[in-house]
Symmetry: C3
């Protein structure tokens, strides 16, 4: 990966954007692992219907506890398999009882001889990691060689982690831009107080963009929530400020806050999964890990406050990105007038790494079969 | 009518469907009599607005008790006549008081001389039969020579009949296929228990398809509802099973159950009337007649149970056909992969007998008129 | 202005309408002053978001009390300015804090040097008059030379005035036609009793149409509401009837009732402002002025009754015009079959004076800017 840039250097000109396609119409690239559910949403012996960019997918947790993922339609009359019945390691459509195994193969039609079974439905590579069910919606031949993402400090005992999934009515790109542009602290002025972000460095490569901030408080008081998150009892001064690093490493995003000792205090991993074909609705998955203080139980005590605090911030961000999407829909194009170089780099990245065009799933080849 | 086929013979190949048009886009043929309301919905001295395939129709029961059917719009400013006022044998638009008789002729405009009355609106052939108001939406010249359907055992004193009308959010063809394919008993497993249908014969002609079934119970117990419907206290055995015959005689459908003595125990007549222009919403009309047992009052006693039972079955079927329609809309075409020959014959029939293309009603020629 | 016509003369032929465009697709002409809010809806220190024909407009009442009108979008990320914060005589976007003055100029971006500020957003000419906030959405060069409308008897102490604003789901032309065609009294038969309108004169010019009516009661009794409105205790006779004059002077409309002494008893001023781009939703603004009787307080006493009465009439009219719009949408064109010459003249007027085609706002030229 080529590194380049810093806060002193080049200006990304809006001019260069002229001939490029509308970022809000760039589909997410399917050749990555995306979480399509929290593990706890897929109960044993149950089927759970989800969507990736308009494609219906059923996640089945079989009797053995393993999860598999199929097209969420019966090959026969196309009704969703997620309303079917899990039977051992198979799923039966609830209408005429057609039965599929974890490879999507149709293994039984009650009123048809087994020698005449038609083709079944598509199966998706599927893996479970740290409480998320990941699916590889793209070219299945690439699944094996594509690593699952690293989910940050989740596995470490030194951190306490919260998992969340929230639906947001906008294109995934708005979510990336929202988190990366810390100049939007004005939006959170009621929760966070008046803060100003100072960019202190930025870097980028072929499939990533990264920026470092120091956040300065305009007034002296530090809100409770923030104190809790950063675990510091004393006011930061010019020399002992925390550093926040935000990185989009396509298609994932992280936000890390390190204290002056370079200890990782807060570690957020997030990804934004399109739900509908037009990619106007997104499910945001996140894992927020907070470093436990020396008196470890203190974090458990303030945890509910911390949840309230992050929910409040998320609600304000959601409001903003949904207004952005509405404006885009009404204006019929991308009128965004960005002046912040990091965000212009991020926009280039999302265009460059995005999918080529909207996917259209076609049924597997299904040779004629017949019975009586 | 040419008869052909039986359960032993030919296989209808999906291959032959390739070049044909999408069944779910075949409009129903308008040159038949269709019920547009239950008689009880059209009260004396009242107007009742309905739709046939997107065409607004007003049914007016005049002071004399006769029902007539007009386009449901005032020729003047197009607001619905069904919000108007029935005045003797005429209907007055509620806006400026334009008045129409049963032929659609405009017979009065309060502020215009009668010698200058403009043309009115279209009238539809309309007849009432056995509690249903039938309209002939197609070529009116064919109405006289087209017989009203026979409504089965409704008129016979030996049967008790229930009339129903239910809106379902799908193309009418899904309704025909649902009823005719008894292999979908798995859908009703909670209400009916585990049953298996065995096809014992099938026949078809130019405008009809018919299939006979024996239904075998996988477990011994017979649910109460079914016992009530079939009026038998004893368990069926291999030799004394009932026979169910389902027939689509375009555009109507019947289901009849005969006991081993060939006595007609249950007689269902149904038709599925498209409501919107795209024919994605349908009103299903049905008449279910059950043969009274020797102690006639017994049927009246179990009637509420019977209603509960059929409502429950209908609810499950509606769920399934609406999911099929949703899948068709999402997939943008007919991915149906049918393996059951009777249903493939039925699908051919519905294509062959269907209308040629979506109707578009244009206003009657209205020469200019003016007044002051 | 050329005057012509009277009730005796020419017939406007529907034939002449054949090649003209569908009236319901004629956009309102933007080069007039339109109220976009009641003054009381725009509170000091607050921003209020409204729409004109799909264009979002923010009305800002600054700290000084003056109202200004801008495009309702931040030039940066396009979210509505009406959710921003009024700061003195400026408005700040709530997301990243970009600040605009009353001319739409961007005067501050907290994280960008002032020498590099980008262009801002469009400002609209804006004036306040008699409790309404008027905006000139068309060519701003014409605003100065285009007079604000005269709002009738609002300013006179001899009258008591009610202001209202109501949203109606139809094209503005239906509103003009509804008020001008008094033959629709049948619609109000429950509130007004059976009345008949007699046209006693009509006139028109380049940008106006006017008609005089006498209203005759079919039955003797005069409803309370009407007696209150017209302030007369005695029954009208053939010789002392009131005269009602309705005028559309593009784009405004007035209705005046004079008693036999030619005293103006009721004076209504109204305008219908399209809200959405398709101009299918309209906000009707009205000022109804009623002449006070000699015992002035009597009018205050019956005022609530009068409000009830006018609300009821408005509700019935709204019902009718919304049904007309629905019929137009379903029929896909204008099937209106008008027989009343005044209304045909009005329809010609609305076509002639209407806008040429739907407006599409484009962003101001925004040269690239960048910062860090």
């Amino acid at each position: 990966m080529q590194e380049s840039g810093s806060s002193e250097c080049s200006v990304v000109r809006a001019v260069s954007e002229a001939p490029v396609r509308d970022l809000r119409r760039v589909p997410i690239h399917p050749d990555h692992w995306y979480p399509l559910a929290l593990s706890r949403e897929v109960k044993r012996g149950c089927a759970h219907g989800v969507r990736f960019a308009g494609e219906p997918v059923v996640l089945v947790r079989a009797a053995s506890g393993t999860v598999f993922a199929l097209e969420d339609r019966c090959a026969h009359r196309q009704i969703p398999l997620h309303d079917g019945v899990v039977d051992g390691e198979t799923i039966r459509c609830c209408y005429h009882g057609w039965t599929y195994d974890c490879s999507g193969q149709c293994v039984n039609i009650p009123y048809l001889g087994r020698e005449r079974l038609p083709n079944g439905v598509r199966a998706y590579p599927c893996r479970e990691l740290d409480g998320l069910v990941f699916v590889f919606p793209g070219n299945p031949a690439l699944a094996e060689s594509t690593p699952l993402p690293s989910l940050g400090s989740v596995a470490s005992d030194a951190y306490k982690t919260r998992r969340y999934a929230r639906e947001v009515a906008c294109h995934y790109s708005f979510m990336h831009e929202n988190l990366m542009d810390m100049n939007h602290q004005f939006l959170h002025r009621r929760v966070m107080g008046q803060m100003t972000a100072h960019t202190i460095g930025r870097r980028h490569g072929d499939d990533w963009v990264e920026v470092d901030y120091k956040l300065a408080r305009e007034t002296g008081r530090r809100p409770l929530g923030e104190a809790v998150v950063l675990g510091a009892a004393t006011e930061p001064t010019e020399t002992n400020e925390d550093v926040m690093t935000i990185r989009t490493s396509y298609p994932y995003q992280t936000l890390q806050i390190r204290n002056p000792d370079a200890t990782l205090m807060l570690d957020l991993w997030a990804v934004y999964v399109p739900l509908d074909r037009e990619q106007r609705r997104t499910r945001a998955y996140g894992l927020v890990s907070i470093r436990r203080p020396r008196t470890r139980v203190l974090l458990d005590i303030v945890w509910p406050l911390l949840i309230w605090f992050t929910e409040r911030i998320f609600k304000e961000d959601r409001w903003a990105v949904e207004r952005e999407q509405e404006a885009h829909d009404a204006q019929g194009g991308d009128w965004n007038h960005e002046v912040f170089p990091v965000i212009n780099e991020l926009r280039e990245l999302l265009r460059r790494c995005g999918g080529s065009s909207a996917r259209r799933v076609i049924p597997l080849d299904t040779p004629a079969a017949s019975a009586d």
